[in-house]
């Protein structure tokens, strides 16, 4: 049977992708950020999954304009890196695990998540920057990836509680997939940041650190946080953290925190990265 073995959460700041692509990771500005990711890069070598279910938000690259799905799963065989205005990132094509995605879609509807499937889309930095941070710059990504897009940009967005339940439903779906697969779930985005107006540049380290303190072992305290609180406390884009709750919800009750990293700034954003291994490997 398939099983969720581990979860990763990471910010997906586009400038991080540019720093990798332009060979600037050892520049004084960037080195402290990339040093923080050395752990997960090493860990991933020994813990390469068969499939990653990757929660991210599309940044007006494939979605947000004509169609605004709350929860949408990539269903194409493969996904190219999007041209976000400066050309496509030079990264490998993302290959899907369509059979698992189809199974998850079936199970999610049974669990009352009426999911949108996307048969044609490019994936933007929200999806590709986490892959680069964890897997570096390989010729091909070492595993299949199911891109799972969450609307965190246009209100009404889903709540943190709803994302948590989505994670739980995905956990249940994966557990009933008959093939023997090692599956990881990644939550991306965050931490605190706001990208416009007189509050632009907002960073709430105290709030972010509390979120990191509670996510591994006391996530129940994070589930009821309202969307309004995310906006007020962590900035209009800090609400991306609800995708970390989807990741954590998919891991089940007990996790072992293998790594935690927090750094300000990367561009406009507080960067966070955690690595959790599921205690229950079923």
């Amino acid at each position: 049977m398939a099983r969720i073995t581990a979860g990763i959460a990471t910010s997906h700041v586009p400038a991080i992708g540019a720093a990798i692509d332009l060979g600037k990771t050892q520049d004084p500005y960037w080195k402290p950020v990339f040093d923080g990711y050395e752990y997960v890069k090493e860990w991933a070598k020994d813990n390469t999954p068969d499939v990653v279910i990757l929660f991210y938000n599309d940044h007006a690259s494939a979605l947000m304009l004509d169609i605004v799905p709350t929860f949408a799963m990539g269903f194409a065989d493969s996904f190219q890196s999007a041209d976000e205005g400066w050309g496509r990132r030079p990264v490998p094509v993302v290959h899907n695990h369509v059979d698992l995605a189809a199974h998850i879609a079936e199970q999610l509807v049974i669990d009352e998540f009426d999911i949108t499937l996307i048969n044609d889309m490019d994936v933007d930095h929200g999806c590709t920057v986490p892959l680069s941070l964890v897997f570096g710059q390989p010729e091909e990504w070492p595993c299949k990836v199911i891109p799972f897009a969450v609307n965190v940009s246009q209100f009404p967005t889903p709540s943190g509680e709803r994302c948590w339940k989505l994670g739980e439903a995905i956990r249940n779906a994966v557990k009933t997939f008959p093939e023997d697969l090692n599956v990881q779930v990644w939550g991306t985005g965050g931490m605190s940041h706001q990208l416009h107006g007189s509050r632009a540049g907002l960073i709430n380290e105290e709030w972010d650190q509390r979120f990191l303190d509670l996510l591994a072992n006391d996530p129940d305290e994070l589930i009821p946080i309202t969307r309004l609180e995310y906006l007020r406390e962590t900035g209009t884009e800090g609400i991306e953290l609800i995708m970390w709750l989807a990741m954590r919800g998919a891991l089940g009750y007990g996790v072992e925190e293998k790594h935690r990293f927090y750094r300000v700034p990367a561009s406009n954003t507080a960067v966070g990265n955690v690595v959790y291994e599921a205690k229950s490997k079923e």
Binding site: A15, A200, G201, R232
Partner: protein, 134 residues
């Protein structure tokens, strides 16, 4: 029975200096955003650079939105419904980093803004709520 809201919808407008991107704002800026997303193709970026006004006339934007684009006035465009994830494609076309683009909306110079970020960013103290002044 419908579930109760956890907070009044109007509270989304109670955050200082912040325009929460709602479905209504998305509607107002639809054609502006259509223009922004067109810049995801190199040939369109070239065409826009060659004659900005002529290119903008291909889109059903309001005159104010067109002027906002020509002026690169991102705050004005946000006032007119725009969202940074779309607008950053305009900035990218100009070769501006996301940080520089964001800084133009902050009332600070790019250097001041970059320095503030290096020093840990902007504190949330006093700018959580217009009503509560906290």
């Amino acid at each position: 029975m419908a579930r109760q809201r956890l907070y009044p919808l109007a509270d989304l407008e109670d955050i200082p200096g912040t325009k929460v991107f709602t479905a209504k704002r998305s509607r107002e800026a639809y054609h502006l955003h259509k223009f922004c997303m067109s810049l995801m193709k190199a040939e369109n970026r070239d065409e826009f650079r060659a004659d900005e006004s002529a290119y903008l006339d291909k889109f059903n934007m309001t005159p104010e939105q067109k002027q906002g684009v020509l002026d690169r006035d991102l705050n004005k465009l946000i006032e007119l419904g725009g969202n940074m994830y779309f607008l950053v494609k305009l900035a990218s076309t100009d070769g501006l980093s996301a940080q520089k683009a964001v800084s133009t909306t902050s009332g600070m110079s790019a250097d001041e803004y970059a320095q503030m970020m290096l020093e840990g960013g902007r504190s949330p103290e006093g700018i959580r709520s217009i009503r509560d002044k906290n």
